[in-house]
Amino acid sequence: MRPARDDAGSAGGSRAGRIVAALFVAVVLLYLFAPVVVTVLFSLTTSPRLSLPIEGLTLDWYREAFANPIFTIALTNSLLLAAITALVSVGLGVPFAFGLLRLRGRTRGTLVTASLLPAAVPALVLGIALAVFFSGIGVAQGLPNAAIGHILVALPFVILTLNARLETFDLSCLEAARDLGASPWQTFRDITFPLIRPSVLGAALLAAALSLDEFVVTWFNVGNQQTLPVLIWGLLRRGIDPTVNALATVVLLSLTGLVLGAALIARRRA
């Protein structure tokens, strides 16, 4: 270890140089985390304005937010959309990824790329395109439209994660099951499903997370319905209200939970 430290010393230069480097790292991290910290902090302070020093701590803003019936509706809608997005994008993504597994070479590469390209389309374009499409075929804006948009946003990511994890899947296990007397259905029930369950769960959590904080596509297609991001945006138009911080913190915590869950499941599988 000692020679490594010596190397670092000679490369890093003087003591002053190292202090500058540390400060730089601190500034970048501050920039990355300040908005999150400010939001969480001011959802818990007694002052209705963003002011320092902090006078006292309270959960009143959460109480107020939860007491608002619109909040309950928005939360329900958001959770509903997240659940539908997770179910449908996994339902479409799993067979798709399994199909890819049986293909070889260029066809497979082309199909993977083709299924991922929509993720590169800006949400704004996607949102407007869907809105124009639905109005063109005479479907009124509403939650189902938003759900279709969310699935569109989540599906490429679901296919990407499933494809990456299924690449290590040993197809000869499935042949072994058939060979030992299992019907195609028994093979799926006993072998395929238990083996892919963690990957599928991880992909579902990812889809739910993507849906939960989706704003742009939702905004263009949801009509006069509320979801959490849409509600927060509406509240912000009437000025910064500490309940907004409370709502944002709720969204933040749910997303963190989903992402951590997905990561933990992925690690346990590995």
Binding site: C173, E175, A176, A177, D179, L180, A182, P194
Partner: protein, 367 residues
């Protein structure tokens, strides 16, 4: 063959699009027989095995097992079980659950499954390891577990797809003998795919040599080693010297070949050969005799040459001799016979004409 037939492969062909992988394979395998399908990679041996297992469908021809036509049956309806190259154990099940899986599917009661699993664990020497997961096993243990799993439902025929190829040499040699012992003890029919000729020689009752989608020769290890049916078979099984030349004359079955460089060699013709046609002679290094002496003293059966290399192989010594025309020939001698032999020394080589086979064609030709 006097034993009843376990597997009868008749006229099996396999094409992927325009590409033919198997051409009209006919092979009958007896009950309790250990047959190896031996050939270089890409010769179609694994495809043939997978056709018997039901994972591939023959483009033409049929497969019968104990008289029943199984050609159209899916794998789970066939009385065959396959041991996969890398085991293919179910990673989410313990060793015991892996072995018992086929019995669970057949609806056996738990206690009976447990008893049978213990019996199989004992057979493959994995006693006490039933509770382990596949990731906690060594390479050899994985293949033992895979073998036990495939044997659990008492298949009419056990198919093995290069199950030892991932193991190191020592373990592989040990497992070969053990597999053979298990097959004898169970009195089961084994079809074993391998590209390793030693493996095939050690384990098999009969070897079926395949090349480019065809059966080249089927016979006992001794028949195949001592009387290979083609240049390919003689080169693929064991080690051999190949000399290609044109037929100078045939006399009472003894052919004389002349190489482009003017070297004359003699061997016995396996098929009629026309004078002037191209043919190849094959002679095993251990059949080649060697003595010190001047080329002027050579008998008509001997070739003069210079020792190019002396390689010590432990139990024997391989002498590489360069003939005047540049042809290199190997002679394998016992250590004691090589005293005084050194590189650069002039020697005389010879072999009995019936120890060398001659076939039409040149070394590169198939078949």
């Amino acid at each position: 063959m006097t034993a009843p037939i376990a597997v009868e492969i008749t006229g099996v062909e396999k094409r992927f699009g325009d590409h033919a992988v198997l051409h009209g394979i006919d092979l009958a395998i007896g009950e309790n027989e250990f047959v190896s399908l031996l050939g270089p990679s890409g010769c179609g041996k694994t495809t043939l095995l997978r056709i018997v297992a039901g994972f591939e469908h023959a483009t033409a021809g049929s497969v019968r097992i104990r008289g029943e036509d199984v050609t159209g049956l899916p794998p789970h309806r066939r009385p065959t079980n396959l041991v996969f190259q890398r085991g293919a154990l179910f990673p989410h099940m313990s060793v015991a659950e892996n072995i018992g899986y086929s019995l669970k599917l057949r609806g056996w009661p738990k206690a009976r499954i447990a008893a049978r699993v213990d019996e199989l664990l004992h057979l493959v020497k994995l006693d006490g390891l039933g509770g382990r997961g596949p990731t906690q096993l060594s390479g050899g243990q994985i293949q033992r577990a895979a073998l036990a799993r495939a044997l659990a439902p008492e298949p009419s025929v056990l198919l093995l797809d290069e199950p030892l190829s991932a193991l190191d040499l020592k373990l592989r040699q040990h497992m070969q003998l053990e597999l053979r012992a298990i097959q004898r003890a169970l009195g089961a029919t084994f079809i074993y795919v391998t590209h390793d000729q030693t493996e095939a020689l050690v384990m098999s009752d009969r070897i079926a040599i395949m090349n480019a989608g065809r059966l080249v020769q089927v016979g006992t290890p001794r028949e195949i080693y001592t009387r290979p049916a083609s240049i390919f078979a003689s080169d693929f099984i064991g080690e051999t010297n190949l000399v290609t030349g044109s037929v100078a004359g045939v006399e009472e079955g003894v052919v004389t070949l002349v190489t482009p460089g003017g070297l004359r060699v003699r061997g016995s013709a396996s098929v009629p050969l026309a004078a002037g046609s191209t043919a190849t002679l094959s002679v095993r290094p251990e059949a080649v005799r060697l003595r010190k002496g001047d080329p002027a003293d050579a008998t008509p059966d001997e070739i003069g040459g210079t020792i190019a290399e002396v390689v010590y192989l432990g139990s024997r010594v391989r002498i590489e001799v360069a003939a005047p025309d540049g042809t290199l020939l190997w002679a394998d001698l016992r250590d004691a016979e090589t005293t005084g032999l050194e590189r650069g020394m002039v020697v005389l080589l010879g072999w009995p004409a019936d120890a060398a086979g001659v076939w039409p064609g040149s070394e590169g030709a198939e078949g």
